[in-house]
Symmetry: C2
Subunit: 251 residues, 2 copies
Amino acid sequence: MARRAAKPKVLDTNPAIARVVKPVDVRRNELIDCAQALFLTKGYESTTVADIIARAGVSKGGFYHHFLSKEDLLDALIARMTRQAIAQGEDVLGDPTLDALTKLNRFLDRSQQWKLQSAPALRAIAAVLVKPENALLYQRMIRSAIAAVAPVLSRIVEDGIREGVFDVPDVQLVAELLLTISFARQEFMAGIFAMVEAGRMNEAVAMLGQRIHREEALFDRLLGLPRGSVHLADARVAAKTLARLRTGSAD
Amino acid sequence: MARRAAKPKVLDTNPAIARVVKPVDVRRNELIDCAQALFLTKGYESTTVADIIARAGVSKGGFYHHFLSKEDLLDALIARMTRQAIAQGEDVLGDPTLDALTKLNRFLDRSQQWKLQSAPALRAIAAVLVKPENALLYQRMIRSAIAAVAPVLSRIVEDGIREGVFDVPDVQLVAELLLTISFARQEFMAGIFAMVEAGRMNEAVAMLGQRIHREEALFDRLLGLPRGSVHLADARVAAKTLARLRTGSAD
DNA sequence: GTATGACAGACCGGCGGTCGGTCGGCAAGT
DNA sequence: ACTTGCCGACCGACCGCCGGTCTGTCATAC
């Protein structure tokens, strides 16, 4: 029997499955939601568009009506994540009464807070993201985040220079470096999480604390600040979060 | 006609195509050679194993006899490149009469020399590597290179600390940062190359020179050295290389 | 009613990977 | 020196699956 014989003459007449029509934004976001959940658990390459549409309850045609390709969906996902990320923490920047160093520290504290409260999710995400097969996903996220946040950081640094407190040779470069360090921390954290799950809690806490202090020193240096100016994160709080993480893990 | 009917009863009897047998190392390296050439021109994803075997004159079966998968071949390629990279420049490190700063500068100078003499190839490679579809290739190369070179750099930095000249909070972290900066330069260079090809040579030279000076300042700072200690690259030489690149480009 | 756009799903080409089969070259037996 | 036998390098038809296309259908707005 030839393959092409079964031309779609009459289809979609199945009354059991009702066709649901939704506003474009809703459908788009539903698809992005599903994709996000799948990408961050199975990885980008391993997730097929069949997986996505199955979870979203949409057909292939529906999918490609909203997105040009699988990668186009990834773009949309990254864009949404980036938008959400920069939305929070804009208020800190707007306050003109704050000096640059305070702004920076508040900014760092803010992101620390956010990381803590979403630590369980981040643990899983970090584990997936570090896997080599997700290089594309990883790179896109980081580049997009850097592109979005670097200008914000640059503003703060420029303020600091104007105030005569910061001293940096290249604002843009330093801002990107600071962010690069922050993202490199993700790989470090993947190791820490592994350690915690292996039961070597004390060791993990010690390493994390040390890392934080050393990164702070690096930040100070890069920004031309006296030692102890930048406050990256509280080591005790971080330790507590790790402890909470351990009890929360299912395996 | 059913698909499976054409079972391979008798095959490979075509006398026109002789079967060539080669030593394993030779074949493996031939395949890696072809893959390298293709990956660095077409990109990793766009290169199919059909492309590779066509170029190498080997069958599918031959390919999978030597490699477990396309990614396994990539691993082998990266490993070979890394091996070659660390092979050169080992002599600098071995010289015990040199102080750490001199070693570092020689090390940087050495890699600068290498980059200059292979500039045309690097231009093409940079253009391909920066494309998002090659994220895997890019990430693997960088990670492998960092993993290989970081210990070498760390050694130098540790020597410098022992000499009381360098002052860094975290040797490993700083070494990785230095390398990260160096690799981030590749993206910067892609922009410079584009500028050169657009005919804005003066602008490109100026930007490159500025970048070099600023990176040097950053290196000094990260290593706790007085300004002007680290000599990354000669701006004039770099400018000349750019000029040579322009005439050498085919388009 | 009718135009429009959201959605359905059979289909396609091509990809990475598999598998039964083939044959060159070396070494042991004579 | 000639045959034989074996091993592993090599072959290529085939497979399953995946991203993407295309024809066709239906809900909704006007």
